[in-house]
Amino acid sequence: MSNVVPRRVRAVLAGISWPVYVLLYTPLALVAFYSFAPEPNGVGHSLHAYNVLFHDGDVFVALQRSLILALGSATVSTMLGTLLGYGLCRFRNANARGFLANIPSLVIYTPIIMPSLVFGISELIFFNFVHRTTGLLGAGLDTMVIAHITFQVPYVALTVFARLAGLDPNLFEASNDLYADGVKSFFYLIVPVVQPAIIGGFMLGITLSIDDFTISFFTAGPGSVTLPIYIYSAIARKGISPEINALGTLMIGTIILFAVVHFLITKGREGADEYSA
């Protein structure tokens, strides 16, 4: 394909693209740079901000909450989403028309398309109402988990669905043909084949959870500060500060580390993973 694009054009493309790559990471690099700010009344670089950070109990609690939120919601959403995607792929009558048949599409795409703000505020109102009438689900970690599950399920379902839809439809029949009934087929055929998608869906759920702010913000209660909310409040109160830079740098670093590890793992698994036969 490279012979189709002339040399000059390629040079121009490179000339535009490399600066963009730099620009993409400049802000993040700056955060890291400023995190090594000198101590108050000092000069040069230091780890002062990190020191303060590690001694800040609130940060660790917030981190803990973020992890519980992410892992908890991803686990539930993976289960719900996998079954959802499987069911829609396997048992839906492809020829059904009319309103009733389109409901699953509507239901699945709404959380994806809906702006986070509307999502968050809807939850706020809903939980507020439920709490006032039943006393359950006061704003807090549990309401956040519910909201996170809700926006993750469609992504997991679509991931699993896409993987299943790409399979040879004869595979289900082949499994039946070879003496495996419905349940056995599920465990010996579906689950192993769909496993990468399930894991992918789970990781996607975690990523979405960690990346979210708006929905978390509106479903959080006074006692359920997670990491993004902690940072946001800190910015609102103090503006720019080295501690936030330190925290931000650590978060960025962790993500980059995970991305690299993930990439290496999938690279290593490349040869064994073929899904058409």
Binding site: S17, F91, S105, L117, V118, F119, S122, I146, A165, A259
Partner: protein, 301 residues
């Protein structure tokens, strides 16, 4: 007597409900119903604390249009227009950046491509707040960029580029670039390059060649990207809050305020409805556009 076929159909239906039911039910209960409630509140009056009470009225919509006790104020209209403009500009910027990026990656060896794409998507895996904070730092009053802008007399001293309109645009474009890149890249991967050769064979070259042979094939990706960028950008909350300040108020901040700082739920709900109407109209317009331009279908449920 029911035939085998009917029996089988029933069993399929049951299996469908057992597997898909819980997930669908969850979403209906925890999103669709709450959203419906939110939209409903837009038709109620507000009490002193901003909570919705009867009677049912269209007053919140009048508030949206700018009518209040003090007469008509064009503030809201300006906010809507500004939000539309920001979303539009951010979309345009991401599109203009994505095309060279995508084709740059396509000209690299195949082994390198996933890595290059990963590097573009990577920043979006960090938290929104951290990303936006980074720009706040980069464009704030004490940052080198602001010193440069000051030297060029773009901004007065002691003020940075952020908070401000330009900062918001930048923040939006930065945050949503991957959302444009990924669908566009997916489209580009499926490109039929033989069309380019056919084009050359028929005497086209340069920009015209690109426009007639390559660009139309990327349209499905482009339109997906437009939807994935414009809609969230229009209603974004974090970026205008942190990078916008008071001078660049967008619809997201306005709506959020009605539920946090200065509660007025019906007003906020009415604003949301109008925002969704705009969004919906935009979506419909783009679907029509996609169909007219012959967009391809993805693996949809």
């Amino acid at each position: 007597m029911r035939t085998q076929v009917q029996n089988e159909a029933r069993r399929q239906g049951l299996r469908l409900w057992i597997t898909s039911g819980p997930g669908l039910f969850w979403i209906v209960l925890f999103l669709l119903i709450p959203s419906a409630v939110l939209l409903g509140i837009g038709f109620f009056s507000a009490d002193d604390y901003g909570s919705p009470i009867l009677p049912v009225t269209l007053q919140p919509f009048q508030q949206v249009a700018g009518y209040s006790l003090l007469g008509w104020d064009d503030g809201n209209i300006i906010i809507f227009l500004r939000s539309l403009a920001q979303a539009g500009i951010a979309t345009a910027v991401t599109a203009l950046l994505s095309y060279p990026l995508v084709f740059f990656i396509m000209t690299r060896p195949a082994a390198l491509r996933p890595l290059l794409l990963l590097f573009i998507v990577l920043p979006s895996w960090t938290n929104q707040v951290v990303r936006t904070y980074a720009w706040l730092e980069l464009l704030g009053p004490n940052a080198p960029v602001s010193w440069l802008a000051h030297a060029l007399h773009i901004v007065p001293p002691d003020l940075g580029i952020a908070p401000g309109t330009f900062a918001v645009t930048t923040g939006l474009a930065y945050n949503y670039l991957p959302y444009m890149m990924v669908p566009l890249y997916a489209s580009a991967e499926k490109l039929d390059w033989t069309l380019v050769e056919a084009g050359r064979d028929l005497y086209a070259s340069g920009l015209r060649l690109f426009w007639h042979t390559v660009f139309p094939q990327t349209l499905p990706g482009l339109l997906s990207g437009v939807i994935f960028v414009a809609i969230p950008a229009f209603g974004d909350y974090v970026v205008p809050q942190l990078l916008g300040g008071d001078r660049a108020l967008m619809i997201g901040s306005l709506i959020a305020n009605q539920f946090t700082e200065t509660p007025d739920w019906p007003y906020g709900a009415a604003l949301t409805i109008i925002m969704l109407v705009f969004t919906g109209a935009g979506l419909v317009a783009f679907r029509v556009l996609t169909r007219k331009l012959g967009g391809a279908g993805e693996a949809t449920i």
